[in-house]
Amino acid sequence: MADLTSDFAGIKSPNPFWLASAPPTDKEYNVRRAFEAGWGGVVWKTLGSEGPPVVNVNGPRYGAVYGADRRLLGLNNIELITDRPLEVNLREIKAVKRDYPDRAMVVSIMVPCEEEAWRAILPMVEETGADGIELNFGCPHGMSERGMGSAVGQVPEYIEMVTRWCKQFTRMPVIVKLTPNITDIRKPAEAAAKGGADAVSLINTINSITSVDLDTLSPEPSIDGKGSHGGYCGPAVKPIALSMVSEIARAPETAHMPISGIGGITTWRDAAEFLVLGAGNVQICTAAMTYGFRIVEEMKAGLRSWMDEKGYDSVAAVSGRAVPNVTDWQYLNLNYVTKARISQADCIQCGRCYAACEDTSHQAIAMSPDRVFTVIDEECVACNLCVNVCPVENCITMEEMPVGAIDPRSGDRVDDAYANWTTHPNNPAALKAAE
């Protein structure tokens, strides 16, 4: 049976599923119950400096985006870092770590961008017996207005500087948590690497307004008629996070760094996708906040049985396996030709593929008077939209055309040679190279 134990930047845990730094990890009671439920580790809710703690709003903190059946697809929050006194958090961290020595206990920290502030807090955290620290350079609301969180994460030089201080003042592994609110995720990751970080984790939440109350005209969540942008997370952000993780995993400057994958992970499948795209472990917040701690059961069992089916014996064997398959658009094989195929046996005749292709795409689906839908190969560009809008799984599929066949759309023979844009005659750059 596949082994789920994980060694992430030297931090060991019985499985690669950690709870991300957020409300689920904001106190002893929660974390003990999470460990009882089987989570491999936690990143404790971000701690601030000693002294009076920050205060949160006293109205609603969350906004939501729903799918069918009110399924929570996206959550946004305007919560700050922990609003409980530092010494209380430290005492609890120590007690929990003592009782669960096999679980990963990582402590998230956000203090002002001053050397003294970091020098002061790190020994206190180390004293708890925690396994590592995570630098919160990602919080996009509230804390960033005070020059912390994403305000630091958006400036690679600051990331490098603070990371260096941390490596200097503590022997604990340092994980740098990145904000997605930037244009090129590789730059902050590179800065973390330069500063000596042991790992990066991403993504933190995305600047967002989930909705506006059309009666009061206040953005949600509404605090006395006004709203502030919050941080977006949950299933909706997964594609953004996956792409960012893969970019770091395949950039030569950062490829060596362990990545803790975060963002929208809800099932074992999401977790496996992060792992194969380069993550060494994963962190989860919204899914736990939506369904409770018990989801880790499904995640562990699902990941393990998938690994067994594929013959991967360890998490390390899975990590990064799909990275070589992430490439630039220009290297995609233009001689790979597919056509949409509609299974008449599975078709329920809703006609959504027809509406999509006819109204907005390539007029490549024919509809008979008795509602039989068929693909017109002469028109089909294989865009996949019909597959995406079809409500029945596997009813419409993309079938590869065999080598030697004539593509009825282009009239060209399907070539078995690989050919991409860099050598395509329509590419002005390619022509120049040939001259």
Binding site: D69, R70, I348, Q349, C350, G351, A355, P391
Partner: protein
């Protein structure tokens, strides 16, 4: 409770108060707002949706469901009323399992269609409680249209004509408008005074005058109407009832099912409606099922529907047959009545099993009896009297196109006219379409006259 289901004869009060209240409560209770959202989420917004094709009034179902999804049930109601002004009643009485919901692609996919009927009710109920009538009359045209019959066909026709600015007068033989909405539909399908309330709401458009207790053929003639009005629409339904032509038909409590149903609908207190201990219903359609089920709900001990052919030939859909059997009604098929047995009152009905022969259905020599102190005849309704000189198609008024009869200036629709199923929704569609045709004809004629 002075009587029990076992009390012999035809008597009232066989059950407790709560039994009556439960039995005659809403058959498909309304969806609450949350249930409606969950149900609406299942709609796929199909292209050229099959449900719309299956609806005789062609309501834009995906659109109205999307409007419910987006928190606008009032807009959804408007979408429904645009096609079907009696969308509220249709939401309650349509056999959706053979119409829109049968065509729903999720019926194909999972055997569980989107609950279109109940969603339609949710939307229309929301609109009706506001009490605001959503349409305004166009500028008066000066044309006057006479309508006979205030059933679904006549009402739909009247409303559409009023919208177009014509003046409408409806004559109805009965004291109350609504036709079978008021006097026919099973009580548990339309509880409370919904039928009446819906008619009142419909009339708010203005320009419609209702003349009750006035029958064509008795109080007014078609010739007079054709003289008085610019156009005439006949929506008289099927007032006549087929006779059994069996000895014993004259015993008391050997009755037309439709009369029993009408009395039941009008009864303020269902406990006061007498019903037999053993009830036999002869027929195989919706009327037979409604009479049988409601007899059980009134406390009859045994109720048997006897139909002369097989189950597959019954007018009542499999869903309705199940509805009957679920209520403890026994369905006997392949038998026809020979005579009602009894001395002063009915005691039993004698039946013969039937045989298919080249000459048609024949009684065989094998007979049997079923005890009965009340017998309902539900073997089909007919046109009561063919209005003067109109060409018939079989037993109905022949119509072509959008309800044109053989007489110029006379349209017909609903159950009395040829074509289409005998359903409330079909009557609405035909009334509405005839109104459109009348409008085009009147306006067209006046434009030509003006030139």
């Amino acid at each position: 409770m002075s009587n029990t289901p076992m009390t012999p004869g035809v008597v009232p009060q066989r059950l407790s108060r709560t039994d009556y209240a439960d039995g005659f409560s809403d058959m498909h209770p309304p969806l609450d707002a949350h249930e409606a959202l969950v149900a609406a989420d299942r709609c796929y917004f199909c292209y050229d949706a099959p449900c719309v094709t299956a609806c005789p009034t062609a309501i834009d179902i995906p659109l109205f469901i999307r409007q419910i999804q987006t928190g606008k049930p009032g807009d959804a109601a408007k979408t429904i009323f645009d096609q079907n002004i009696l969308g509220g009643m249709c939401a309650r009485v349509c056999p959706t399992e053979t119409l829109c919901e049968e065509a729903c692609v999720r019926e194909t996919a999972e055997g569980k269609p989107v609950e279109i009927g109940r969603l339609q009710r949710f939307a229309t109920d929301t609109a009706l409680v506001t009490g605001v009538h959503p349409y305004q009359r166009a500028e008066p045209t000066g044309f006057r249209v006479g309508i006979v019959g205030a059933g679904p066909a006549g009402l739909a026709c009247a409303h559409r004509l009023a919208m177009k600015g014509h003046d409408v007068t409806i004559y109805d033989a009965r004291p109350k408008p609504g036709g079978l909405n008021e006097y026919g539909i099973a009580a548990y399908k339309t509880v409370g005074d919904f039928a009446m309330a819906e008619v009142d709401w419909l009339m708010e458009i203005g320009g419609i005058t209702l003349v009750s207790d006035t029958a064509l053929g008795r109080d007014v003639t078609l010739t007079e109407l054709r003289d008085d009005f610019d156009a005439v629409f006949l929506g008289v339904g099927l007032g006549g009832v087929n006779a059994l032509r069996a000895p014993g038909e004259d015993f008391p409590y050997v009755q037309d099912a439709v009369d029993f149903i009408a009395d039941l609908r009008q009864a303020e207190d269902k406990a006061q409606v007498p019903v037999g201990r053993n009830v036999v219903v002869i027929g195989g359609g919706m009327t037979a099922v409604d009479a049988a089920v409601q007899s059980r709900l009134l406390g009859a001990e045994t109720v048997t529907i006897v139909y002369r052919r097989g189950r597959d030939r019954m007018g009542a859909s499999p869903y309705e047959q199940d509805h009957a059997t679920r209520h403890g009604v026994r369905i006997v098929t392949g038998a026809q009545p020979l005579r009602v047995i009894g001395t002063d009152t009915a005691e039993a009905v004698e039946f013969a099993y039937t045989e298919e022969t080249p000459e048609g259905l024949r009684p065989s020599a094998q007979t049997f009896q079923i005890a009965a102190d009340q017998v309902f005849k539900a073997i089909g309704q007919t046109l009561a009297a063919a209005p003067e000189d109109l060409t018939l198609d079989g037993a109905k008024i022949a119509v072509t196109g959008m309800g044109r009869t053989s007489a110029a200036g006379v349209w017909a629709g609903g159950d009395c006219a040829s074509g289409g199923d005998d359903l409330t929704v079909t009557a609405v569609a035909e009334g509405r379409d005839a109104a459109e045709d009348i409008h085009v004809t009147l306006i067209g004629a006046s434009e030509i006259a003006a030139e």
